[in-house]
């Protein structure tokens, strides 16, 4: 059950997307996320979906693996859909008591849900195709120009990479504790909301204790290997832009231009 959450997980395989420079992929993901908010209509989304589909195909991440992560956030999407569906004013399509569906509401609900799904699939593609270490290196490199105005680029990147690195670890830990408590007859899957929340205590307390223990061990291991921040630290594999990365930059630019023209933000 917990293994179903693929958000922030890496899918090991060799694909053109996996081989790209992380800086390109991070920029692409940022551009992509921002671009979703420039889309004004469904043809726009069709274009974004098509581009995303090509990327997913290129990444060789199986669809089943990609969508397994969606299950966990299905509730959020459902909630957004329902909220938009019932709470938007306009011409009434259907009414039952206080529940009222308007055509504007239906349009907005579909629009928002689609945007959310595209947002999640697109951004999880970044972590699925980029190793956490590469991701951090990329972020650090992208942020390093801001060091001059006092931005702790290395520390931020390190914090992010540790956080990312610990998602699967804590997930595994939670899975283990859950199994141990199930073996003692704990029931995590039935009962009402209150009972379920209470049933989580035997999981959350040991998980919390474990998280602190793991963090302490990590801090000790880092100090034992003389970690002292980013100053003067060199890399085993320095990041280097290659031909395919340059091609990717051009594609990102092209994608953005077409999207902006389609949505009418740029008029010739």
């Amino acid at each position: 059950m917990l293994k179903d959450i693929t958000l922030g997980q890496y899918y090991p395989c060799d694909s053109p997307l996996h081989r790209l420079d992380p800086r390109v992929k991070i920029t692409a993901a940022l551009v992509y996320i921002v671009s979703l908010f420039f889309v004004r209509d469904f043809p726009g989304f069709a274009y974004v979906t098509l581009c995303l589909a090509v990327l997913v195909a290129l990444s060789r991440v199986p669809l089943s693996f990609l969508f397994r992560g969606m299950k966990a956030i299905f509730l959020i999407i459902l909630f957004t859909f329902a909220a938009n569906l019932f709470l938007t004013d306009g011409s009434v399509l259907w009414q039952l008591g206080f529940l009222r569906v308007t055509s504007e509401g239906l349009y907005r609900a579909a629009f928002m849900a689609l945007r959310l799904i595209l947002l999640i699939v697109g951004s999880s593609l970044l972590t699925l195709t980029t190793k956490p270490m590469a991701l951090t290196d990329g972020i650090e490199s992208l942020l390093s120009p801001f060091r001059r105005i006092g931005l702790p680029a290395h520390e931020l990147a390190m914090m992010m990479s540790i956080a990312l690195r610990f998602i699967p670890t804590l997930m595994e830990e939670a899975d283990k504790i859950m199994k141990a408590q199930s073996a003692r007859g704990a029931d995590f899957e039935s009962g009402n909301v209150l009972q379920r929340a209470k049933a989580l205590i035997p999981l959350l307390v040991p998980l919390f204790v474990s998280a602190f223990r793991i963090a302490q061990d990590l801090a000790m291991a880092m100090e034992a290997r003389c970690y002292r921040g980013g100053e003067g630290r060199t890399r085993l594999h320095p990041l280097k832009m290659r031909g395919r990365d340059r091609a990717a930059w051009i594609l990102i630019l092209l994608y953005t231009l077409i999207l902006l023209v389609q949505a009418g933000w740029i008029v010739f």
Binding site: A186, P202, P206, V209
Partner: protein
């Protein structure tokens, strides 16, 4: 009634590029009240096996019968199996969560529907069996106990469910020699006093030779050998090829035999000493 395992197979991440077969076609039987040890090097499928035994994982093929009942049956088969089989995970002390030791131990039996005096008696009994008398430890926080005490408190939590079978996954890992001895005594006590069947996963061949009635040897997800300790530990070469070894006494006897001493097969240090004395006495009478 026993636990019967029939052609059990399990693959992690089936259908993905990093799928890995953890268990293939494993069959065996564990009798009521018996002591079975499972040995095998890291990654041989031992932990996967025990999780399958109480239905925490669902096998792709094969099944497990507890008291003749399929635990993967739709109508809550695994729920009933968990009433009968207690599983102590590796490092069980990380599952402690309650404010007091007694409350933590009570978690399992409470889930079984026990309450009131019956529950208190059950908790006190389990804590006593685990060597942590309730009067002294019951009201303390589990987080202020020592490592070995924490582990025994966690085991008491499983014992409190009065399982017919107790499965322990490397229960002595990371304990000092005394903690180890105490823990093995505890396990033996559970078998004797409650008549529970024991399934023990262990890396310590001496313990296995000393305690087990049946030994299962796992290798690469398969059941490579099965038999009494004497039968299994007679195959030193095969065990070494699987990354395992012999009990110290058996290895010592094997070396002496290679040097021409006529020693019978031995498993424990006591056996070895007795056999050596006999050989020595024999050679002395010949010399006289």
């Amino acid at each position: 009634m026993p636990i019967e395992v029939k052609e059990l197979s399990y693959t992690y991440n089936e259908g993905l590029s990093f799928a890995s077969a953890a268990l293939s076609e494993v069959s065996f039987r564990v009798e009521d009240g018996s002591f079975t040890a499972v040995i095998g090097h890291t990654g041989s499928g031992k932990s996967t096996l025990v999780q399958l035994l109480i239905g925490l994982l669902k096998p792709q093929r094969g099944t497990v019968l507890v008291d003749g009942e399929d635990i993967f049956a739709e109508n809550g088969g695994c729920r009933r199996a968990r009433q009968k089989i207690g599983l102590v995970f590796q490092y069980p002390e990380y599952q402690l969560f309650e404010e007091t030791v007694a409350a933590d131990v009570a978690f399992g039996p409470k889930n079984q529907g026990l309450s009131g005096e019956e529950l208190d008696a059950c908790v006190a009994d389990s804590l006593a069996l685990a060597g942590l008398p309730a009067e002294e430890y019951g009201e303390r926080s589990p987080f202020e106990l020592s490592g070995g005490q924490k582990r025994r408190a966690a085991i008491a939590g499983v014992l409190a469910m009065r399982p017919k079978f107790l499965i322990l996954d490397e229960p002595a890992a990371g304990l000092d020699p005394k903690g180890r001895r105490d823990l093995l005594e505890l396990i033996r006590g559970v078998q004797k006093q409650r008549g529970s069947g024991i399934l023990l996963i262990s890396h310590n061949m001496d313990e296995v030779a000393r305690m087990a009635e049946q030994v299962l040897v796992m290798d690469g997800g398969r059941l490579a050998m099965q038999g009494s300790p004497a039968e299994v530990f007679a195959q030193g070469e095969a065990l070494r090829a699987m990354g395992l070894g012999l009990p110290a006494a058996a290895a010592f006897a094997e070396r002496l035999r290679a040097r021409g001493f006529a020693l019978p097969p031995v498993l424990t240090t006591e056996d070895a000493a007795a056999a050596l004395l006999k050989v020595w006495a024999g050679s002395r009478t010949r010399r006289d």
